[in-house]
Subunit: 242 residues, 6 copies
């Protein structure tokens, strides 16, 4: 089984970190590779970047499908860019890391909070809570106010802010589970889980497990457009066909 | 006052038709121009094309802003591509044609139905009903199964199908208002209103009126990102800066 | 175009202030007049007065229609008394000032708070949030505890309380837009917008713009009862026919 | 214990019928009287009449309170006019017949349908389903298209239409309980219950029982405005004080 | 009329207290008896005990029905164990004490809070708010952190904690009514009502009144399974038939 | 890894069939065993049996935990009896087959329908749709009117009815995915998927995959009660301790 993890931003060291995290999660015989799209933003913190990142994810899935394809795709940014369109162009499972974290949180705890990056990012989280019918489960969305790239430059400062917001979510908002709201936060999951006494979930790890199990079911996603219809679709100014 | 209507697909004759419709709606002293983006799909009927169309709309707003800007922007496809991101890059009003139709329907009738293009398009309408908190008002979404471009090639056949679905929405679903679910349907509004005895709303016309009145309020939209922050945003592979 | 603004309370100096505000908002060629009903309460702060005020609004619309009518009607109290019944007796647009403020807030900001008069008034606001499907957008409803007439007697004290609650809505409740919850608060809109850095919306101004644009659409409201049916309706003890 | 049933329309023979129904429901030692307000409509089938009927109910409660009062009040039209305002002017229980029918239906069946008068009346029912948080329980609202007064003139024809819509609600909409949507339908409850095999509920009967039990709890309703505040309230053109 | 109050826990002194409370509430000619089931938990504070308590309630109703039956049944623990299944095995009214408290709160106040036992108990309350469509009415659920049996051992300490949480619900959460979240809290209702100035509701008392009035309606509950079907049902390892 | 599948009914041949299905789904190195509880109903078609089945599931989990435990538990009846209580007594994953089917359906299709057993069973499905926040995704719940045991006696007749309802869900209700609403329906999944062209999901298979992946995450469920607290819990008349 081959799983392709798409880091929708184009920061390659981050893609390598995500690949390492994803490979640790994979079962035996599962090949996991991570890539960044040819095109897209360096960070995804607002609707603007979410829109561009969606194109990068769609572009990567379409090209991979033409070259033989993977068995499943993961969109590894916590706003899950390209998820809906990706499912229109391939029958293979496409899974988002926010979607995966929400999926497991439903079974592990009665509610959860999200720790995210910026205020602008919070709106993307709110959008996803609605699209996953998880509004009532989500007690709060707390930004660290440390940007995605700033977090990479000064990880200890970022982790401190992340822990502080996670702790406040548990103690003040009554959260019984924490969703780490960025693919760059994966390293915190284990330590925070121990410190806080509640599950602290990393979407990258969980998306790999969920994608594996989806492949194993043998079911195709049914949001796919027909091949004949898809081939009529072209995008002026974009080097892409479906 | 200058209003820029962006037809997110790149079919120029359709853009001309939309411009004509929009100009008819405009008040005295209001200059309305319609353009297609440099880049984007030829029709927007699914999430895939919605994603690419969003880029075209954002691209057009960003370029226009650099060249002096308009006083308001309209995204003239019924799934309102680029609406949220557009509001992040300009303080000027950005209005969607679906949004405008829903806005006026709230005041003209106790509920409404949408007549749309294809089954795939219906999912975009459902998404917008949720994002505009209009789920409870929407009695049904009925596709004609006539594609956007097919409709242009054979308008009478398209109009017949459109009328049939509008009639069924009124008679079987209890709709008291019809939203025309495509910028290409504008011509039907007046005739269908008379025939069906309920308001049949064209979003292009209404978006022009709504954008005018938003400009007149003098209020800026508050979803805008700060200029300093916006200038840090770049998109690899896209010829765009903010 | 003639727009009749109905101040549902019977305090004429307040009606004159509302008229001045409304006229400032009107476009060229639009005649705006404000009246108080023949009958009704001196302030509207609870369900009791909301009920009586509804009668005054209906009475005013019915009489005006008999005398030639206006092109649109505005009910200028923030609980929008008589809105639904008004739409049953005339095909012309009837707009509420709360409705107008909510309409524009949807496009200007991701959420809003309402600053209102008393605790009893808050329940009327809650009712309107439900009837306009805006519950999820409304972060809080904050009373100043200064009554409508007390506000007129001591405006500076009222404005101070109003600003304090607006500020708390922004800083503590996360509101990104403020709706001024009384027709008597209109004067605060501009100054508060500058001070708070978020749109502070006055419903009177916005209702005029919205009513104008509704008239321009040419669409009739479809909640209207048939003339034949309406003429069978009489109200014992009320000097009114329809 | 004295319960005052207010028939909000001013058709006295109907008030007498309602009184007879209500007295049958009353427990030992409970005195039940029915009155029509001094002022109000002859039938209540739309928002317009709902508004005027609310005044009649409020007026009747206020006058009765001044003359010694009853122990509980019932507003005996299925849209429950004056319910909220009535609770502001007396601490005694005020109960609506729609409210009572919904209250018992919650315990007798997993869902229900309403059989109502006209299409215009349906909107009042929809409003009440929202205000009682019963939207999800209500499978359908089916009008007979026989007006309130027409029903009194030709009862057999009205009952036939009523039975037909009740039957369709059970057989086609899956309703497991029927709420009779007019105080004038009371006589049908027993017979329809037997014929249809599901509870067919008359709100008048049930409101008497509910009001009795509310009085027995000894609890005051807490929506009441303070006496001092209430006494400042006057309504120009209405012969009423509080 | 005979009403059987089932205290789902097996602490007999508590059953006697509940019986005393229930008898005080009963009307003339109504015989009220309270029993504990043959089987079940000593306290009900979590889903685990809720499940076992449901069996005890079902068992008690089934046995009572075989021996002649009561006219109505009350399940007297605030999570209302056995309510749904009880209604499947008898056509007589089955009422829960949480259900009764919510029923009356709807008419006495615009909202309410629940004071409950433990954090684990709160989840049962949340479940019931959903099943009674009362989520929007419930401002908060506040545990005292004093267990059911601990409360019996040290009542003054328990009452102090209960009052403190009730007071906080009113002052900080804006509750206008308090629901006492345990059958063991009944004694506090009167005193707390006076001290807090809002209705403080005891479900045991209210369930008796509600059950009485349900019996008086003469309506049967329609969730009942047919006798023929019910007799096919057996439970291995349980000494029960239906 | 050891997964214990609990068939909550006590029909051993059915338990053997479920075990066979479950083993087919399991990954390498995963030992799957199926058992029936010591106690419980022979079929689960209504709330009554759901309540008794919950006890059997809790009993089985508690006993298994005392004897060394499994790594995960599955409750293999489509109403997921004992799910919430099971999670209170073990930190290991407990998964329901309805929960698993809903989990995968969210990613495979935009909506789904459930084909279930009887009308009484439908209410259990409705309850689970609410508890899993999946009400909006579920287009319809269609009973075959063939009981659980009748289905085993005459499988072809049962399968025909099942296919007919599945087909109607797709063609009339617009379902894009079918959830098989009984552990006894597993054999139909593959054939129906091919015939209907949409995913037809068997919860037993999917629950095994989901439980495996939950174990692999290493996260404990956080609804668990503390051991000290749990040990105070006893159930009179039940041979069980925790």
């Amino acid at each position: 089984m081959k799983i392709l993890v798409i880091n929708p931003n184009i920061v390659l060291p981050m893609t390598r970190d995500i690949e390492a995290t994803a490979r640790t999660a994979a079962g035996p015989g599962v090949q996991v590779d991570a890539v960044s799209p040819r095109i897209g933003p360096s960070a995804i913190e607002c609707y603007l970047e979410f829109n561009y990142a969606s194109i990068g994810v769609v572009d990567t899935i379409a090209r991979t499908e033409k070259e033989g394809g993977a068995d499943a795709y993961i969109t590894a940014c916590f706003c899950d860019p390209g998820l809906e369109a990706g499912r229109e162009i391939t029958e293979k499972p496409v899974v988002g890391i926010c979607e995966a974290a929400v999926t497991y949180a439903r079974m592990l705890a009665p509610n959860f909070s999200i720790v995210t990056v910026l205020d602008a990012t919070r709106r993307l989280n709110e959008f996803r809570m609605v699209s996953y019918h998880a509004e009532k489960l989500c007690k709060s969305i707390r930004p660290t106010h440390v940007g995605v790239l700033e977090f990479r430059e000064n990880p200890q400062c970022g982790l401190d802010a992340l822990f502080e917001q996670s702790r406040l979510a548990v103690e003040e908002d009554g959260a019984r589970c924490i969703l780490l709201g960025c693919a760059g936060f994966a390293a915190a999951a284990r330590e925070f889980t121990e410190k806080l006494g509640v599950p602290v979930l990393d979407g990258v790890t969980l998306a790999v497990r969920l994608a594996e199990s989806l492949v194993q079911t043998g079911h195709k996603n049914v949001a796919t457009l027909s091949r004949a219809y898809l081939e009529t679709k072209t995008m002026k100014g974009f080097d892409i066909t479906f």
